[in-house]
């Protein structure tokens, strides 16, 4: 009797484990793909949307199973259009004081990205890291309203997603160095010089 009872318990656990393992694998792949970024090439919006939807679905399942308390919403931080307005918003779930989400490893890639200012502050806000640094003030004079992005922000592209607690271990390895932040700021200064008054937006929106 005892044996039977134990057996049943184990098989249930096993099943749940298998499902959870599969989920973790797909979740990991999702994040990895969202992070993967090729400098100078525009991401496919279709692919990105499908990845995010899959990610959301997994997170929904995890939440409904009561697995993670982390309300990871990749969209609210990252699927943004007008950076200026949203720069100070932190994504719901990030403000709950959970384990620090993964920082973007996008510095090397982001050097020729169009929106480093917003991307960086966006990533930073999502992270909560260096939160007290008034990055917004530094970038206030950069006017990004004249053009819209046709793609999801680089920060999201580089995968600055709040990680679920289960992958917290790998987060430490992805923390951004202050050196790299300096590097980005250097690039931003160059970028602002490039975006001059001569450029016109020819899109008929």
């Amino acid at each position: 009797m005892l044996g039977r009872g134990v057996k049943r318990k184990w098989s249930c656990l096993e099943e749940a484990e298998v499902v959870s393992e599969a989920r973790q694998l797909v979740l990991g792949l999702c994040l990895e793909k969202l992070q993967r970024y090729q400098a100078g090439v525009e991401l496919s919006l279709r692919r990105s949307v499908l990845l995010i939807n899959t990610l959301r679905q997994i997170q929904e399942e995890m939440r409904s199973d009561g697995v993670g308390s982390c309300d990871v919403h990749p969209d609210s931080c990252l699927l943004r259009d007008d950076f200026r307005e949203d720069v100070t918003v932190t994504c719901p779930g990030c403000s709950e004081g959970e384990s620090p989400p993964e920082l973007p490893s996008q510095e090397a890639n982001g050097s020729d990205q169009q929106k480093p200012p917003a991307a960086v502050s966006d990533a930073v806000n999502a992270m909560g890291y260096l939160g007290d640094l008034a990055l917004d003030d530094i970038f206030e004079d950069i006017d990004t309203s004249m053009y819209e992005t046709s793609d999801l922000p680089s920060a999201w592209a580089s995968g600055s997603l709040p990680q679920s607690h289960s992958t917290a271990g790998s987060l430490q390895s992805c923390l951004m160095d202050l050196n790299e932040l300096d590097h980005i700021m250097e690039i931003l200064v160059v970028e602002t010089h490039l975006v001059g008054p001569g450029l016109q937006n020819g899109f008929s929106l």
């Binding site: 694998l25 797909v26 090439v41 949307v49 499908l50 699927l79 990205q113 929106l205």
Partner: protein
Amino acid sequence: ASINCRVTSCLFSFIQDWVYVWSDIISTVEFNYSGELLATGDKGGRVVIFQHEQESKNRPHLRGEYNVYSTFQSHEPEFDYLKSLEIEEKINKIRWLPQQNAAHFLLSTNDKTIKLWKISERDKRAEGYNLKDEDGRLRDPFRITSLRVPVLMPMDLMVEASPRRIFANAHTYHINSISVNSDHETYLSADDLRINLWHLEITDRSFNIVDIKPANMEELTEVITAAECHPHQCNVFVYSSSKGTIRLCDMRAAALCDRHSKFFEEPEDPSSRSFFSEIISSISDVKFSHSGRYMMTRDYLSVKVWDLNMENRPVETYQVHEYLRSKLCSLYENDCIFDKFECCWNGSDSAIMTGSYNNFFRMFDRNTRRDITLEASRESSKPRATLKPRKVSTGGKRKKDEISVDSLDFNKKILHTAWHPKDNVIAVAATNNLYIFQDKIN
């Protein structure tokens, strides 16, 4: 059930006719309305047009061959300075215009710009000008003692391609489809979030007829994947989405067709739900039948035929490579799950064709429900030999001549195929090889 595929009676007894090898990956293939011309576009922005030659005495049992007719560079790589990103020159789609005079017109598009090209022949030139020599040098006026009338002399055929219109700056997102309207005056172009209607004569303006971009991009969950005009009703068009739905719109109903007239969606089978359900339901191609009564959609694992009068489910579903369903995780890992396969009808709408992996392509006969898997490969078939049907073994025991799922080469994908509008001649693009197959005529 085995497929009885005798050469004389089977619809699908194709022989390999020609193989053309490119230096670049072929990205689109399209016959014109008569089937006389076959246009291909590649990743390098080039367009190559083949022309059907008359039957020759050397090949009495075959239709004429397709020979290169014209080659030109349609698009060049560009740089978007606003976003610091390269705009690929890869030709996403080519669509022919119906022929109205001696010249041929086609639309070719990359991610951002659509171009109208005129392809015309020149086989005569004028000789005997008064003021200049044959090589163009001006004649000394004092040497001219008499007047002559220039005569038209035959010359070697020259095929010229010239860009007649450039439709630019109307798409923020990547163009995935273009479709010429049955009125022959307008055409539509679709990107991930918007569809525009153009007049062929006007390049500085287009009408936006569908816009699914949310005010807040964070709410974006669905993109447009393909769009096509109805073959006969110039006010009707359809567009498919990444969520596996198709919307039919009527341009008479409103200027902005955000609200559909019909909504096609098959309810999901809850038993087959997985993490990848949405990704594999994403429609990669939509094509109206020539009759205009049906439309066909291609998602990752199947092809579905819909009756335009029935929105709640397709009338026919064909499994292209169901054996991949258990491999979805690996296909997700190697990104193959995002591959966009096209599909096409034959001229009489009795058969449909679509590509798969390992250079396999599949054909389905809608009347007999028979299907066949063929391979586009130079090694596997001798020229002029009937193509052998292929089979992928799904069970444990692999029969002779079958190939196991794990041996499939996922880098050899056939995404683009085209069927001649009248004859049983097909063009299959396998990476950088273009195969032309035709069936034997007795």
